[in-house]
């Protein structure tokens, strides 16, 4: 059976034979290259996917001129952005202005570490994986605030402030819904959480409380990634382009890329916590069915689940109108947070009594 795990082991052995003590260094280099490649490919694929999904939802065709069926549209766009001049406004804080896109990008890259892409393929199986994710995902707000502040533009500033308020509030809800799964699995480690779902994904095993926490999680991460209907940070009808109003060329492309990478990462986390990560769909006592499901590679399972969640979030974006700032905060503080807290209590009771399957 096709497996990334064997490849990784083979490469590890080969490196150990030929480089001796430098094996960790070379593995880091390989992983960095792979991560950058993944980012580039994901950026191209997700932007195209978004445009196609948007078009079909709005009864349009979408990009269909560049390459077969418009497949090369995003490649052409990227080439254009690479060649464009990156302007810096006259009175901008040059250092922070240049630094901000890289901070946002770095936060996205750091989040890649604890994600299990397939069976045994994980950059760093840290024992506080889920905590690490929720901690590091807050770094990107610093980058956004930096971009808004240093642009010397009132729209950028407003967008950044809104984004700050939004991410800080919605992190709570996301945290509480993640805690539900942590309570059920009894571990913060990503590999343990996946292993706990071997006989069924949490969304099936955990009854209604886990479904509620899944819904809250999806809403909260949509807000955290600044996507419609929570795209107040960009709000093109009010703030031109929000925090990246003054950015152009490759710096703008980095913001754009980071947005899509963040979507991928939060969907990957959602798939890991609720849909079993790379774990195939197993139904207890159906041995024949389970063995057929096992035959599908674990990387395909992971990518399938992640892209299903990405499609769901895109579906939200092209269906719902944008919320007002007060509505946004009402939704979080008056609805999601109390429901999330109460739900966490229910899940805890369920875990103590062992009511889940």
């Amino acid at each position: 059976m096709f497996s990334f795990q064997q490849w990784a082991a083979t490469i590890h052995q080969w490196l150990q034979m030929h480089t001796g003590n430098w094996v960790v260094f070379w593995e880091c280099v390989i992983i960095a290259l792979l991560a950058i490649t993944l980012f580039a490919v994901l950026g191209l694929v997700l932007v195209l996917l978004e445009r196609k999904v948007a078009a079909h939802i709005q009864i349009r065709l979408g990009p269909n001129r560049v390459g077969p069926g418009g497949m090369l549209q995003t490649v052409a766009d990227t080439l254009k952005l690479l060649m464009k001049e990156g302007l810096v406004p006259d009175l901008a804080d040059k250092f922070l202005f240049n630094l901000a896109p890289f901070i946002v990008m770095m936060a996205a890259m750091l989040l890649l570490a604890p994600i299990a892409f397939a069976k045994g393929i994980q950059i760093w199986d840290i024992n506080i994986g889920v905590l690490y994710v929720s901690a590091v995902s807050s770094i990107s707000v610093i980058g956004i605030l930096m971009a808004g502040w240093s642009s010397n533009n009132k729209y950028a500033m407003l967008g950044a402030m809104r984004s700050g308020a939004q991410i800080v509030s919605y992190e709570l809800s996301a945290g509480f819904s993640v805690l539900c799964i942590v309570v059920l699995s009894g571990s913060l480690q990503i590999s343990d959480i996946i292993a706990a779902q071997e006989n069924g994904w949490w969304i099936f095993k955990g009854h209604i409380p886990v479904i509620i926490s899944f819904v809250i999680f999806i809403i909260a991460v949509t807000a955290e990634t600044n996507r419609a209907p929570f795209d107040l940070a960009e709000a093109e009808s009010e703030l031109t382009a929000g925090f990246h109003t003054e950015y152009s060329g490759m710096r703008f492309a980095l913001f754009f890329l980071a947005e899509y990478i963040n979507i991928f990462i939060v969907c990957a986390i959602g798939a890991t916590l609720y849909l079993g990560g790379w774990m195939p769909l197993h139904i207890a006592n159906w041995t024949a069915f389970n063995s057929i499901m096992d035959y599908i590679p674990s990387s395909v399972w992971f990518m399938g689940k992640t892209f299903a969640l990405i499609l769901l979030i895109m579906w939200f974006r092209w269906t719902f109108p944008r919320l007002r700032v007060d509505q946004l905060l009402t939704l979080e503080w008056k609805y999601l947070l109390p429901i999330g807290l109460f739900n966490l209590l229910l899940v805890t009771l369920m875990a103590i009594q062992g009511w889940h399957f």
Binding site: V53, H56, I57, Q58, I59, R60, L61, W315, F316, W318, T319, F320, Y335, I339
Partner: protein, 158 residues
């Protein structure tokens, strides 16, 4: 009571969101609903909506007769001076003088396709055509004379 309202709020909210998602989801999985026309490619089988407004034309029947009485209702209705009507006096067989249309001048370059002239016309002499490729090299070509040469008013139209 507060709790009841709160729960019904959440329920109504979720329900209306799902309703919207059902509609967009339907469009997403039914590509046959797509209304985009790939214009230069499908020039031959282009289907325009019935009420598409391209330019004002005057309808003439097979006897080269139109229904315009030269009443200038369209000229008065036009918000930006697109239409200019020049009238003349016809002499009827009984020897009476009767006002009639001489030239219907239409400035396509000024027209906003607002349809007010068509609504104002008491005899339905003019209508909106579905042509829309109006670009020309000389601006003068956009000033059009709508009544055909030697055309006259149809019998019985008052």
């Amino acid at each position: 009571m507060f709790i009841k309202e709160y729960i019904s709020d959440v329920y109504q909210g979720v329900r209306s969101l799902l309703k919207g998602m059902k509609k967009t989801g339907y469009y997403f999985v039914h590509p046959s609903e797509i209304i985009t026309q790939q214009y230069p490619d499908n020039k031959d089988q282009l289907v325009l909506p019935e009420r598409f407004r391209g330019e004002v034309v005057m309808t003439h029947d097979e006897n080269n007769e139109h229904a315009c009485t030269g009443c200038t209702a369209c000229e008065l209705a036009c918000p930006n001076g697109t239409i200019k009507i020049i009238t003349k006096f016809d002499v009827t067989p009984e020897g009476k003088k009767k006002k009639a249309l001489d030239t219907f001048i239409y400035h396509l370059e000024l027209c906003t396709m607002c349809n007010l002239c068509i609504e104002a016309c008491p005899t339905s002499a003019i209508k909106m055509a579905q042509t829309f490729e109006h670009s020309v090299f000389n601006r003068n070509e956009l000033t059009k004379k709508l009544n055909q040469p030697n055309s006259k008013i149809r019998e019985g139209v008052e």
